[in-house]
């Protein structure tokens, strides 16, 4: 009798765990990454606390057509951002090859955009970025290639939580990490994926659909 009770109890726990997992899956939402702070204010005499999440701040860059781009360029769309340079001999080609696969899947859609910042402010002027985009097989402006002054590009990379630095010892003269950053319509960071890792890129493709579901 004791044994029977124990088995039944065990089964009940197992069942509840399984149910919890499956319902969790259905309502799966991506987290908002980065720092956050509580902001307290008075509403009708009551104290209300809101959480303010990290946001991509204002920026002004030139794209491959020498047109100004700002955060408003990406309004009403989610976008994937990264940092690269056109003469990069190390991780960039692999990262861009993988991002190109995502681009080709969503090509022509105006709710998914791409933003590659060049960290080689010396050589990657807009005309060079145009040359690169053309040879990569990118047309139009769904995928923007950003050129800007050093302090602006390196400053914004920190806001995307991506490491970038000038480094004589690094291949090509710049050191950086190969993360693909998923940003939602509210300019919050919702995911970060190693652009040189096939499994991480597959996860990005899954998460991108989860994020797009929020706006359906």
């Amino acid at each position: 009798m004791d044994n029977l009770l124990r088995t039944a109890f065990g089964l009940a726990i197992l069942a509840s765990i399984l149910t919890a997992c499956s319902t969790g899956g259905q309502n799966h939402k991506l987290p908002i990454l980065g720092h956050r702070e509580p902001v307290t204010r008075e509403v009708n005499g009551k104290t209300v606390t809101d959480t303010v999440y990290q946001q991509i701040p204002a920026f002004t860059f030139l794209n491959q057509d020498s047109t100004v781009i700002t955060p408003q360029t990406f309004d009403n769309s989610v976008y994937i951002a990264n940092f690269f340079f056109t003469s990069c001999p190390s991780i960039c080609p692999t990262m861009q090859r993988n991002l190109l696969k995502v681009y080709e899947k969503y090509k022509g859609r105006n709710d998914v955009k791409f933003l590659s910042h060049s960290i080689d402010f010396k050589h990657d002027k807009p005309s060079k970025l145009k040359w690169y985009a053309d040879r990569l097989g990118v047309e139009g402006t769904q995928w923007q290639f950003a050129y800007g002054p050093k302090e602006d590009i390196y400053g914004i990379s920190a806001k995307y939580m991506v490491f970038t630095a000038e480094d004589d010892q690094a291949p090509g003269g710049y050191d950086h990490s190969g993360y693909l950053i998923l940003v939602d319509r509210e300019k919050h960071i919702r995911g970060a994926y190693d652009g040189t890792d096939d499994e991480q890129v597959a996860l990005l493709l899954e998460d991108l659909e989860v994020l797009l579901d929020e706006y359906r």
Binding site: S87, P89, P93, T94, R97, L100, L136, G137
Partner: protein
Amino acid sequence: MVRIFIYSLLTMVAGCVFLNACQSGGELDKARYYINGKSLYETHCRNCHGDQGEGLGRLYPPLTDTLFMRAYQRQLACLIKYGSSGQLTVGGQVYDAAMPANPRLSDTEIAYLITYISNSFGNHHGIKRDTSVRTELQHCRANQ
């Protein structure tokens, strides 16, 4: 009688297995060059030319054009060691991105690499010896 037949059959099978296991010296050399070349490829070439030698768009040429590989067999060493800054036509497509030089690779390492890419991605050119790499490098040096 049956037993003798079975024994002789077993001996023949064992003999075949044994002979196959001992590849000729040339085949072994090629296998050694190829496997060393593969790891060098992964370090120095794969980022641009891809896992399957597929290249990247019109930026970096593929290594799957067997006609190009055949025509450039004697120039590959120079391309790898000294890079290229001009135009290359591969598979009917013009490529104009610069290829970086790899000055630190030794003649032997270049021979490994060429053996790997010349026997992968649809190419079948056999082993590339370090002696021919040395000769070809001297030749393109003289032309530079």
